[in-house]
Amino acid sequence: MAAPPVEDASLDPWSTMMKAAMAGDEGVYRRLLTELGRSVRAMARAAFARARLGDADIEDAVQETLLAIHLKRHTWDPGQKLGPWVNAIARHKIIDAMRRRGARRMEPIEDFEAFLAAPEDEDRHALADAKRLMDALNPRQRDIVQSISLDGQSIAATAARLDMTEVAVRVALHRALKSLGAAWRRSVS
């Protein structure tokens, strides 16, 4: 019952990258998320500007979108292009972020694909720090996420330092990422 495959889905570079990522290529996945993040950032910035919301929560919207892309990546149909799927997720998350900022009326949000050519780099200033993120985690989870993300340690090194097995670290990391998603959801309603 899925829609007929787009003719050039196999030529879509992002679809190719996502397939490689889902097959376990961490490097490609990291590059893909970075590239998607830049275009999502431009999309969020345009939406926030149009609603005159200032840009305090833009990076939150970007991070929530990336996390949702990660946690929901199994809902992407590999026979389709990645762009429209990312667009739907980004739109959903940007609207959430705008509601949180008190937007009542939703201006139309431009399609993600309109921002492919004009990506925006991460803001180097304080805005780039999403505030709520780490508060949602318990100390153990925070330690693991921090060790892997902030300090750049590998799973193996983190496992050795915390005296855990690698599998346990991976499971804990996955749980932590899921609870981040849940915490963001709670903050919307």
Binding site: M1, A2, A3, M22, A23, G24, E26, G27, Y29, R30, L33, T34, G37, E59, V62, Q63, L66, L67, A68, H70, L71, K72, R73, H74, T75, W76, D77, Q80, P84, W85, N87, A88, I89, H92, E122, A128, D129, A130, L133, M134, V145, I148, S149, L150, G152, S154, I155, R170, L173, H174, A176, L177, G181, R185, V188, S189
Partner: protein, 212 residues
């Protein structure tokens, strides 16, 4: 936390077990229907004159109505698990059960004398009908909501309502074999009321459990 740091954490997260929403929905249907059928077997049961009723148009129309609600709802539900999905023409099929009911009512009004209309509409057990359909739908709805939690529906409330409609259709299919009232006047009045209860429960559950 900077976005580049979040990306590092996401990339380190292991590849997930493949999730197939279609399969999850099928599993949910099996579980939910088992629950509904258990309830049917314990508390409801078929009507005594079942074999005689099977030959009548009015009786069989009830099953058709139920399927006309359940099938398009289920197909649409499976489609809307993807965030970029659009309901499309499939949504129009949701009018099929209502059109069937309306056609049945029109014919009934023609073939039955006016004095019979009200007694047939009121029937014998409207209260039982409007409580037992939602009761039997409940396990199916719960299982479908569980299955849909793996998805990313753009509108959780509407998607939940759709799950409610699907469960209502399936529960009506079971209940129809118990229900002694076959007149389209009865069915068109009370069954949709039960469906609305299920859809409302589904909408609530969707907003609560399908948000992502």
């Amino acid at each position: 936390m900077k976005t580049s740091e979040l990306i590092a954490a996401l990339a380190a997260d292991p590849i997930p077990e493949p999730v197939r929403i279609g399969r999850r929905i099928v599993a949910a249907l099996a579980l939910g229907l088992a629950g509904a059928f258990a309830l049917y077997a314990l508390a409801v049961g078929p009507r005594p004159d079942l074999s005689a009723a099977l030959g009548t148009v009015r009786f069989n129309l009830k099953f058709l109505d139920a399927l006309a609600l359940a099938l398009p709802s289920l197909m649409l539900l499976a489609r809307l698990a993807r965030p970029e999905a659009r309901p499309g023409a499939l949504a129009l099929w949701l009018f099929a059960p209502l059109a069937l009911l309306a056609a049945g009512v029109a014919v009934e009004l023609i073939v039955v004398p006016a004095g019979e209309w009200l007694p047939r509409l009121v029937g014998h057990n409207m209260r039982y009908c409007t409580t037992m359909i939602p009761m039997m739908a409940a396990p199916i709805l719960m299982a479908l909501i569980w299955a849909m939690r793996a998805g990313a529906p753009q509108h959780p409330g509407w998607t939940g309502a759709l799950a409610g409609a699907a469960s209502a259709g399936l529960a009506s299919f079971l209940y129809a074999s118990h229900c002694p009232d076959d007149s389209p006047l009865f069915v068109a009045t009370w069954y949709p009321l039960a469906w609305l209860v299920c859809a409302a429960a589904g909408a609530w559950a969707g907003r609560r459990f399908l948000a992502w």
